[in-house]
């Protein structure tokens, strides 16, 4: 294959992988934008999604995408419950309290999965796992393509929710100014619950779309995803949904290109280095516009 073909192939893989990263990152950034809380358990909710697909597959023989029908609403309500009973109590405490609470939730989820499913890696076998779809000489993995399509649909739905509905307006209002939103009659506590539920739902969905591709392990995978979500959101700017999409795709492409042209063993490190550089050189950009756009 010519060099250009390989390059295009890499870009395509990077963009598709980046789409899933974006899906994970959006959940984190939405929660941060509205609640000003860094959710350390976000990656563990992704893993929870992966295990829900494993569970539905084992019990009912469902395809991962079919299990989304149940997994997404369950994820939403799990998020609402976690917010109501834990996070709403610390929302006005010093910021580390919420951070530590989500760290605790992360440990509880990871270890509860470990107790239920055991430590060995789990996955779901699907018939289309290795099939590819060829377009202009570029082979796209069917699994990644489906994940990409699901991401686009979800982002479009989220966009419509935020910009075309009354709840979306309330969410944007709360993100912009919580007190102001209260003054015009928005129940911001309800909005917080909804937003956290949405964040968990997005994480669960990303997990389900990833399960044909990756193995799930109870505790390590969660931390990896949380870190990826941080990288994505900080690359884009915390609290900014549009930027999280760009950040996700950027991370996907940087990882794939870095791994294929430089040292593949440092694949994970490229994103982290980019993350540190952004933190160092554009921290004011990260703080600056976070409230304006959600």
């Amino acid at each position: 294959m010519a060099g250009l073909d390989i390059f295009l192939q890499n870009i395509a893989n990077g963009v598709l992988m980046g789409g899933v990263y974006a899906l994970i990152g959006i959940g984190l950034t939405l929660v941060f934008g509205v609640m000003r809380t860094i959710n350390f358990a976000h990656g563990d909710f992704v893993v929870l999604g992966m295990y829900s697909a494993v569970l539905f597959n084992a019990l009912l023989g469902w395809d991962p995408y079919l299990s989304l029908v149940l997994a997404m609403p369950i994820g939403f309500f799990a998020g609402v419950i976690v917010e109501r009973f834990i996070l709403s109590r610390v929302i006005d405490a010093p910021p580390e309290s919420a951070l530590l609470a989500t760290l605790g939730i992360s440990l509880i989820i990871g270890n509860a999965i470990l107790l239920t499913f055991g430590g060995e890696p789990r996955s779901v076998q699907v018939s289309y796992a290795s099939s590819t779809f060829s377009i202009a000489g570029v082979n796209l993995s069917m699994v990644l393509l489906l994940a990409g399509i699901a991401t686009v649909i979800m982002i479009a739905a989220l966009y419509a929710l935020l910009n075309r509905t009354e709840v979306g307006r309330a969410i944007r209002g709360t993100a912009e100014n919580r007190l102001g939103a209260e003054l015009v009659g928005i129940d911001t506590r309800r909005i917080h619950s909804i937003v956290f539920g949405l964040g968990v739902m997005l994480a669960v969905m990303a997990g389900v779309t990833l399960i044909p591709l990756l193995f799930a392990t109870p505790t390590n995978t969660g931390a990896v995803f949380t870190l990826k979500a941080f990288v994505v959101t900080v690359l884009g700017g915390l609290g900014n949904v549009g930027a999280a999409i760009a950040g996700g795709i950027l991370l996907g492409v940087v990882e794939v290109l870095g791994a294929s042209y430089f040292m593949s063993e440092y694949r994970e490190a490229y994103g982290l280095i980019a993350f540190l550089l952004i933190l160092l050189f554009r921290p004011e950009g990260l703080f600056g516009r976070t409230v304006k756009r959600v």
């Binding site: 860094i38 834990i86 109590r89 610390v90 405490a93 910021p95 580390e96 309290s97 951070l99 530590l100 609470a101 760290l103 605790g104 939730i105 992360s106 440990l107 509880i108 990871g110 270890n111 509860a112 470990l114 107790l115 430590g119 505790t219 931390a223 870190l227 941080f230 990288v231 900080v234 040292m263 063993e265 440092y266 994970e268 490190a269 982290l272 280095i273 993350f275 540190l276 933190l279 160092l280 921290p283 990260l286």
Partner: protein
């Protein structure tokens, strides 16, 4: 101050007698002492200075790798490599802090995770130095004054000395000018600046001291393990464990981190058969309890109640 020094004396007395009384439970006592030392070092930065680090496993790993590589590849005795590790940890903390202390709030915590992860990847991939994912093995150790460093009793005394030195350092600092500067910066950076304190310099000093102390404990841990794998020693979970030990015990208190280590390692041991590898579940549940109901941690809450009782007594007169 006297009270704390008496406490330290009690710790030393109990510690010196411990191996004779419980010769079969040395390994768990070593973990308690090492975690007490690490959590107390973490607390210098995280509790007294308010900068929550989730990357302290880097310094543990640094100490352990220095001891292991120094011994196996260069034949250097552990005390030299521990001193080197402490110096390198302080230098690393200086640059790390210099880069990241301009960030306030959660951004510092996030950057500590990223730096620790990068160090872990380096340890896994640079096989020529670290033995890669398989790790380094310590086959021989020197015998200072005929003491076998592989014996658990000798390792116990090293861990005891480490914990004692760290706690003594914090006792001294808590009453020194530096200790008040740390707390002033934690409470309000702008007011501290107005009072003539340089917040960045204060944070840098705390971070460097915390890093150097942690890496010395890491060196002892390396000797205890005798076999160092990057997945274990640089794990994010170890960083989290160190931070949570201090926070559950009581941030910014002298004995909180040590009490936290005793409670958490003890609980982990008790539930070992029930939860097997899932023993971090206890940390998760306890940190939620602390955040929701006792934000000061165990020792912080006890101290608060004690002070209220004193006031009540005085009011009754």
């Amino acid at each position: 101050m006297t009270k704390h020094l008496i406490g330290l004396g009690v710790l030393l007395a109990v510690g010196v007698a411990y191996p004779a009384i419980f010769p079969n439970n040395l390994t768990i006592a070593i973990s308690v002492l090492l975690f007490a030392g690490w959590a107390t070092s973490w607390d210098l930065l995280g509790g007294w200075n308010g900068q929550v680090s989730l990357g302290h496993a880097s310094f543990v790993g640094l100490g352990a790798y220095f001891v292991a590589i120094g011994q196996s590849q260069f034949g250097l005795a552990p005390w030299w490599t521990m001193a080197m590790a402490a110096a390198v940890a302080a230098v690393l903390a200086y640059f790390w802090g210099w880069l990241t202390f301009s960030l306030r709030g959660p951004y510092f915590s996030l950057s500590t995770i990223a730096v620790a992860e990068i160090l872990r990847l380096v340890a896994i991939n640079e096989e020529w130095l670290t033995g890669g994912a398989t790790g380094v093995f310590i086959a021989t150790l020197p015998e200072p004054f005929g003491v076998d460093l592989f014996s658990r009793t000798a390792q116990f005394y090293m861990a005891l000395a480490f914990a004692t030195v760290v706690i003594a350092t914090v006792i001294v600092i808590s009453r020194a000018r530096f200790g008040y500067q740390l707390r002033a910066v934690r409470e309000d950076e702008d007011s501290a600046m107005a009072a003539g304190i340089d917040p960045t310099a204060t944070k840098l000093k705390a971070f460097m001291l915390s890093a150097a102390l942690t890496s010395i404990g890491g060196g002892i841990y390396g000797i205890v393990l005798a076999f160092i794998e990057p997945h274990v020693i640089f794990a994010l979970l170890l960083s989290v464990q160190i931070a949570l030990t201090a926070i559950i015990g009581g941030r910014g208190t002298i004995w909180g981190p040590a009490v936290g280590a005793l409670v958490l390692i003890g609980a982990g041991e008790m539930f070992r058969t029930t939860f097997a590898e899932a023993n971090m579940l206890i940390y998760g549940i306890l940190i939620l309890v602390v955040v929701l109901f006792v934000p000061r941690g165990i020792v912080g809450e006890l101290a608060r109640r004690h002070i209220r009782r004193l006031y009540a007594k005085r009011a009754q007169g």
